[in-house]
Structures are given as structure tokens and as C-alpha cells.
């Protein structure tokens, strides 16, 4: 028991948690999700990069195209989430880092948010994709030819004449690293200590 706990408190895991915290912070500067759509008249394609707090890329052109199918402008999506995302991530980081020093029973609660964060991101993204894709303005010009749809979250899809490819960005993978580290520590603290008991 003693030795196992000592291992848990060992510098390696602490370092992993610190690293996880830094990775989470760093993920803010990198895109979490990316979409590229191509069509004959857009040989270079159009791209959007979704960051935690903003959307970059060919947003204006995509909005222009989207208005034909009655989709709302991208800026209307996830307004609340984007506005609190920076503060949220910093808070998440501090909560995670506090688990470096506090290893009591409730430290599991400190590890849990970071562990589930990427899943929350995906869930929220999917919610908005669904909301945007299914709630098209029925009066839009192309409402008869483009029916409500859910854009691809990952992989390929087709929207009117566009081929769409979606993939997760470096930011997402950084936060996934944090998530794995947190989950691993959580598991070790939970099951490691139980076993030794």
C-alpha cells in the first residue's frame, strides 16, 4: 500500500499531470476541428478551423454559400461556449494542477473534468452541427434541392456539389493527451489504491 501510494505520488505522475495541464493550455492556440470542402469551382477548397474560442478560415465564403441552403452564419454557433472557453480552460487547468498537490479521495473529482473535456467538446460540436444542419431556413433558395443534413464530424461527406472532409486538429489531440493522462492518473488512484488495499 505504502509503496503503491508512493508510486502515485512519485514525480513521474506529477510531471505527467503538469505536462497535461500545459498541453491543455497550449491547445487553446491550435484548432480543435477542421473542415475542408472542395468543388470544381473551388480547386483549392474552402477551409474552416474551429478553435475553442473562434472560427477561422474561409468563413465569409462558407457563410455566403450556406445562406443559399438556409444555414445560419457560423458566428451564431456556440456563442456561449466560445465566450467562456478561455476562462474555462484556464480554470480546468488549475483544477487539474491542484490534483498534483492534493491526492486525497476527492482528487478524483479534480481529474474528472479534464478527462472528459474532449468528449464534451465533441458532444457540443455535434450538437451545433446537428442544430445548424437540421434547422435550415425552409424559405432559402436551395431548400428544395438541399434537404436538412448533419455535416460530417469526422471523415468524408457530401453537401450539394461539395465534397467535405472533416478531421480533428492538433488542439483536440493535445487536450486528448491531457484527458488520457488525467484518466490514467484517475484510474491508478482509483484502482491502484483499491487493489493494494
Amino acid at each position: 500500500m505504502q509503496s503503491a501510494n508512493k508510486g502515485l505520488r512519485g514525480p513521474a505522475l506529477q510531471a505527467a499531470l503538469v505536462l497535461g495541464g500545459l498541453a491543455l493550455l497550449g491547445s487553446v492556440f491550435l484548432p480543435y476541428w477542421q473542415l475542408k470542402i472542395t468543388a470544381p469551382q473551388y480547386p483549392k477548397g474552402l477551409r474552416v478551423q474551429v478553435y475553442l474560442n473562434r472560427v477561422e478560415g474561409d468563413v465569409q465564403e462558407i457563410d455566403t454559400l450556406n445562406h443559399y441552403i438556409g444555414m445560419r452564419p457560423l458566428v451564431d454557433a456556440a456563442k456561449l461556449e466560445r465566450s467562456i472557453s478561455l476562462a474555462g480552460v484556464i480554470a480546468l487547468m488549475f483544477v487539474l494542477l491542484s490534483a498534483v498537490f492534493y491526492q486525497g479521495r476527492f482528487s478524483l473529482l479534480l481529474l474528472l473534468p479534464a478527462a472528459v473535456f474532449p468528449a464534451v467538446f465533441i458532444g457540443d460540436l455535434y450538437y451545433w452541427m446537428r442544430d445548424f444542419g437540421l434547422n435550415l431556413n425552409p424559405h432559402a433558395a436551395l431548400s428544395s434541392s438541399v434537404k436538412p443534413f448533419i455535416p460530417p464530424l469526422f471523415g468524408e461527406g457530401k453537401i450539394a456539389q461539395f465534397k467535405a472532409v472533416a478531421w480533428f486538429g492538433a488542439g483536440f489531440y493535445l487536450s486528448s493527451f491531457t484527458s488520457l493522462v488525467s484518466a490514467a492518473v484517475l484510474a491508478l488512484r482509483l484502482f491502484g489504491s483499491r487493489k493494494s488495499r
Binding site: 474561409d58 465564403e61 433558395a141
Partner: protein, 666 residues
């Protein structure tokens, strides 16, 4: 087994190619493979020769591949400039310059446009066409820099500035002293000045004088327009002109290297013939060609610039003018005899020699700048003309004369030591060697190497960067005046014929590769620049761009609104696929309407056009562009306005209504 069959097939193809060409004709060096049999069959069916096939594969441009060069060709009486890709000879763009042009919305109600300052004819109406003759690309150290293009209007003595960031005309300047020009435009090696030489002598200042006082009051003119590169504008206040005798000045070129600081203009009608065929006088065509020689004008423009600084110029109609008397006294102007009625005077790449093409003389005459400078210093003159201009002794200035053929007109250069001269009467292009210039040809200096027939009546020629200090060689374009039988007849007005000629190899090897008919106007001269020197914009840098000022406009319509102020109505109208905002404009008859249009698009090629039916208004709104249109709503009625470019699937729906309510009676 499989390999064997493949080998056999390849051998058959190779045999077919050999059979066809007799000479084991192979494609471009990369290939080393025979043409595919389908191509050979097609070539055989069409009766193409190996030379034809070479020409075809040298010029064919697969979809999506880009040309190596841009050629800027004047459009003659179309008043435009044509941009043509080489070697494909595809017309890429027409640039509106002196003539209103609806596609570009040029000259149709735009408040801020180069045409807003069009000169007016004596009846007060704007002049709405031009006769573009000689394009000139801006230069840095004697090399094209790809920033600006200038072109003259022979019919109205105007000069235009085109910015190559967006290929649009930015400025027209009107010569206040003359109605016509010819030697325009030619730039000095760092584009300090854009030179405009006059053609037909007139009383200076656009005034009346009887033709009986031709010698006393009619004059020629060399105008040195100061170019402000920073502003991208000609600066008339710092420009000057030099008064010349009433000979008809023709083409011009600026010296470079050892001849930098000098300008050369040739002339005809040193006889000062005044025509009058109707009175039994010799017609101009006879009177102006009586003497055997005319005068090459040698102008020291650096010295002239100095005189301007020393306030030794007069001012006429707002233009600083160095009088003929001052020019002679201060050593600004000299003459050298040249074979009569020549056309081009062209400075070689080294800047050491000036080549004058005889036109009515089978020779080109080559003058040396060192010879000229020495003769001037030694006062080695053979006399003075009637106006006191010293005439440098011909043999002192001349370096060589090369007999080329009939009707030599204009000369260009390459990177192999050759000069090329168009032969108008022979309908051919001559290749000949320079001596002791920047590049050395394998043949002996100052000799004719070969001639290639062109179809027909060639005027100017252009080689790739052929009038710079670093010509590229490779291609020559022959700008032929007559096409005669080159195309199936399309009525009595025949197209001009621009021919691409391969000049890549030395010796007597020039070959015509491609014919491009131009059915819009008569290109006079062209310049050819390496395409990668031009850094043009794909879309305007910011939304709300004013292309005339090349900066963001003070009025950008981001949201649709209508402001009414007494008789004035200002409409702010953003434009984006696929709607205008607002879509209803209601005004009272007689109200002055200003439309502030802004294209919000940021996507390549998302251009919108705008027109109001019935009001002679047309605008082109490239992505990011702002345009201001003024009109008086003087005709009551209902006028749809709509997008002129097929911008999107909803293009036809991109429309609005101008509703002009009749003025209530009483």
C-alpha cells in the same frame, strides 16, 4: 509475352513517326518518345508537316497551365490594351484605356474614374475614344519591373497610366500644347520620365495659325512627363516639354547605359511640306519625301532637366517649355541625318548604339553614342538647319549600315547578339548581327543572317523584353497590318494578324509558330514581359477598395441604407451573392442620385456587375471594390437594376427596382 507485345506496339508507333517525318522527327527534348499513333493519324489526316506539329506542341497550353510571358499590345483605334499570353497567344484581358468599355464599367457614370477627366472636344463633348499606339512598361535600371504600363493616344496627345496590380487605367493626362502625338510612350531607364513625342506639327498651345505660316508658327514637341512612382501618377507640375522644329517627329527611344540621359526621336518631313493636293500642290506623300534624308533628333534630357531647375523654361498653358532657341543655345538638341522617312529608332541592349530603320531605304543605319558625344564635343557638325540646330556630321556619328531588304520599320533585340528588323514591303522579319554589343552572335558583326516571311505587311515587332538591357530572346511577335487570306473571309473588314515567331536558335532558323487574329482594332506596338515579374492582386486587398486611388475608399457601404437630403439621394448598397441591399430605391423625378456600391465578396472571381436599365450605367465590382455612380433620375418610370455577371445560381434573382415617381403637377 506481355512485354513483347508492348515492345512491338512501341516499335510500330516509332516506325509510323519515322515514316511520317522522314527525318526521325522527335518532339521537344523531354519526349524522346514518338507521338502517340492517334496524334500521328490526326496530323496525317490534316496534312500537317513536322514543322506544323512542332509549332502546335510549342504553343498548345493545356487547361490550367500558365503562359511564360505576357504581351501588352496596343489596341489602336479601339483605345485599349490587349494582354496576350505567350506562347499560347491567348487573349487574357482587354484593358479599357481611352474608350468607354461596359464590361469593366469603364466610363459609364463612375464618379471616380480615369475617364472622369477626359478631354473635351471643341463642341464641349468628351472625347470617347483613343488611338493607342505604343505601350511602355515601367523600368528599373533599364529592365522591366512589372509595376506600370503607359500608353499614348495618337489622336488626342494623351498619355495613360495603367497599374499592373489590377491591370486598370489610373490616369489620363492630356498634353496642353498639342492635339496629336506618336512617339509615346517611351520611358527613361528608371521611369523618371515618360516621353511623348509629337507627330504632326501644330501651333503650340492648341491655337489657330494659318498654314501659310507653317514654318514660323507650327512646331513639334517632345514632352517629358514626370512619373511619381510612389503615387503611381504622372506629375504634370514637374513635367516639361521641348519645342522642336515643325518636322514630323516619329518614334522615340530613351538611351541607357552609356547613352543614359539622352533621348532619340526620328522625324520625317524635314522638307516642311504643307500639302494642298486640292490646289495642285504636291500631296504630303510626295512633299514630305523629297529630300534623301531627315533628322534623327538627339536630345540631352538630363541637360533639359537642369535647365528646368535653373528656371530657364517658359510656361505655356501650364506646361514648362524649353524653347527651341534655348534648346539650341544650351546644347539640349542636336540632329544627325538619317535615311528619309524612317520609322523606328531603337537603342541596343548595351546602350551603345541607336538603330534607325530606313522604311524607304533598304538599310538600317547604326549610330554610336560615343561617336555622337565625341562629335558634339569637337563640334564636328556639317551645318545647321533653318532653326539653328547643329547637324552632327553623318559619317562621324554612323557606325554601320546594314542592308536588310525593303521597308525596314522597327528593330528589337535578343540575348544572342542579334537584332530583328521588320520589313514592311518584303513582309518579312530580318535577323542580323550587332557588333561589339552586350551579346555576341556567332556570325560576323553587322550582317544579315536570315529573313523569315510573315503574313503580311509587318509594322512593329516585339521580342521578349526586347528593348531592355536584358532581352530574353526566345519569342518574337510580328504585328502584321494585313491578314489577306490567312483566315476564312468574314466580310471586308479583315482582322490584324499577330504572328508568334520562334527565335530560340541561332542562324537562319526563325519559324512562325502561331497566328492570332485581332478583330477589335489595330495593334501597333507590343511589349513582352516575363509573367512572373508581375505581382497582381487576386482580389482587392480590403473591402471597400477604391481602385482609382488604390486605397480603401472613404465611403464603404457595409449595410444597405438610403439617405435623403433635399434633392439628393444617397444610396449605400452592399453587394454579395446573390442580392443587392436595398432592393427598392424610390426617388422623385429630377432627384440627384448617388449610388455607393461595395462588393463584400472575398472570393477569387466573385465579381458582380451592376446596371440600371434605361440609364446608361454599367459598373464592374470586383471582390472588395467600391464604386460610386451618379445620375439624375430625370425619367419617371420603373427601372430594374440587376447583376451583369453570372455570379451564382441565383444570379438572375440578383435584382432590384428603381422607381422614379413623376413630379407632381403644380
Amino acid at each position: 509475352m506481355k512485354t513483347n507485345r508492348f515492345k512491338r506496339a512501341m516499335t510500330a508507333v516509332a516506325a509510323a513517326a519515322l515514316f511520317f517525318s522522314n527525318s526521325g522527327f522527335v518532339l521537344a527534348e523531354e519526349a524522346k518518345k514518338p507521338l502517340p499513333s492517334s496524334a500521328m493519324e490526326e496530323a496525317k489526316r490534316r496534312g500537317l508537316t513536322p514543322d506544323d506539329i512542332t509549332a502546335a506542341v510549342s504553343t498548345y497550353m493545356p487547361s490550367g497551365q500558365y503562359d511564360e510571358y505576357y504581351m501588352f499590345a496596343s489596341g489602336g483605334q479601339s483605345g485599349q490594351v490587349f494582354v496576350i499570353g505567350l506562347p499560347s497567344m491567348r487573349l487574357l484581358r482587354t484593358i479599357a484605356v481611352f474608350t468607354p468599355e461596359p464590361w469593366q464599367g469603364y466610363g459609364f457614370g463612375e464618379r471616380e474614374s480615369a475617364t472622369a477627366k477626359l478631354p473635351v472636344s471643341p463642341d464641349g463633348k468628351p472625347i470617347t475614344w483613343g488611338d493607342t499606339h505604343h505601350p511602355a512598361l515601367s523600368e528599373t535600371n533599364g529592365d522591366y519591373d512589372g509595376q506600370f504600363l503607359f500608353i499614348g493616344d495618337k489622336a488626342h496627345a494623351r498619355l495613360a497610366v495603367i497599374d499592373l496590380r489590377d491591370f486598370e487605367t489610373k490616369q489620363l493626362v492630356d498634353n496642353p500644347l498639342m492635339h496629336n502625338d506618336h512617339g509615346a510612350a517611351f520611358v527613361t531607364p528608371n521611369t523618371e520620365y515618360v516621353v511623348e513625342g509629337s507627330q504632326y506639327a501644330e501651333p503650340l498651345g492648341k491655337v489657330y495659325a494659318p498654314i501659310s505660316q507653317y514654318k514660323e508658327t507650327y512646331r513639334g514637341l517632345a514632352t517629358f512627363w514626370k512619373f511619381d512612382r510612389q503615387k503611381g501618377r504622372i506629375d504634370p507640375a514637374n513635367s516639361f516639354a521641348i519645342e522642336l522644329p515643325p518636322y514630323w517627329q516619329d518614334l522615340a527611344d530613351a538611351g541607357k547605359g552609356p547613352s543614359e540621359g539622352w533621348a532619340f526621336i526620328n522625324s520625317f518631313n524635314s522638307e516642311m511640306a504643307t500639302g494642298g493636293i486640292e490646289d495642285g500642290n504636291p500631296p504630303f506623300e510626295a512633299g514630305t519625301t523629297e529630300r534623301d534624308t531627315d533628322y534623327l533628333h538627339v536630345i540631352n534630357w538630363k541637360k533639359a532637366e537642369e535647365l528646368i531647375r535653373q528656371n530657364k523654361a517658359e510656361t505655356l498653358e501650364g506646361m514648362k517649355l524649353i524653347t527651341l532657341k534655348t534648346a539650341v543655345e544650351e546644347g539640349v538638341l542636336y540632329f544627325v541625318a538619317e535615311p528619309k522617312s524612317p520609322h523606328g529608332v531603337d537603342v541596343t541592349p548595351s546602350g551603345k548604339y541607336m538603330v534607325v530603320a530606313g522604311k524607304l531605304d533598304p538599310h538600317v543605319t547604326v549610330y554610336g553614342i560615343e561617336n555622337i558625344k565625341k562629335a558634339i564635343a569637337a563640334k564636328d557638325f556639317e551645318g545647321k538647319d533653318d532653326f539653328g540646330v547643329p547637324i552632327i556630321r553623318f559619317d562621324a556619328a554612323k557606325v554601320a549600315q546594314v542592308e536588310l531588304g525593303l521597308g525596314p520599320l522597327h528593330t528589337q533585340f535578343d540575348d544572342k547578339g542579334y537584332a530583328y528588323t521588320s520589313l514592311f514591303l518584303d513582309s518579312a522579319v530580318a535577323r542580323w548581327t550587332l557588333g561589339d554589343d552586350k551579346y555576341k552572335a556567332p556570325e560576323k558583326p553587322w550582317t544579315l543572317v536570315g529573313k523569315t516571311p510573315v503574313q503580311f505587311n509587318v509594322g512593329h515587332i516585339a521580342t521578349a523584353e526586347g528593348d531592355t538591357v536584358n532581352p530574353d530572346g526566345k519569342y518574337l511577335v510580328s504585328l502584321n497590318k494585313w491578314s489577306v487570306d490567312r483566315y476564312k473571309n468574314i466580310g471586308p473588314l479583315l482582322p490584324q494578324n499577330l504572328q508568334l515567331v520562334d527565335i530560340g536558335k541561332t542562324g537562319d532558323s526563325m519559324k512562325v509558330l502561331y497566328d492570332l487574329p485581332i478583330g477589335v482594332g489595330e495593334p501597333h506596338y507590343a511589349q513582352i514581359i516575363k509573367a512572373d515579374k508581375i505581382k497582381s492582386w487576386e482580389i482587392y486587398p480590403e473591402v471597400g477598395w477604391d481602385p482609382l486611388q488604390q486605397k480603401k475608399s472613404g465611403v464603404v457601404a457595409l449595410e444597405g441604407k438610403i439617405e435623403r437630403n433635399g434633392d439628393r439621394v444617397d444610396v449605400y448598397m452592399p453587394v454579395i451573392r446573390s442580392h443587392f441591399d436595398p432592393e427598392h430605391i424610390e426617388v422623385e423625378q429630377g432627384q440627384k442620385v448617388t449610388l455607393h456600391l461595395t462588393n463584400l465578396e472575398r472570393t477569387l472571381d466573385a465579381t458582380h456587375g451592376f446596371c440600371i436599365t434605361g440609364y446608361n450605367l454599367s459598373a464592374s465590382l470586383e471582390p472588395g471594390e467600391s464604386v460610386t455612380l451618379d445620375f439624375v433620375a430625370d425619367k419617371p418610370g420603373v427601372y430594374p437594376y440587376y447583376c451583369l455577371e453570372f455570379c451564382s445560381a441565383l444570379h438572375l434573382e440578383m435584382v432590384g427596382y428603381l422607381l422614379v415617381k413623376p413630379k407632381s403637377k403644380g
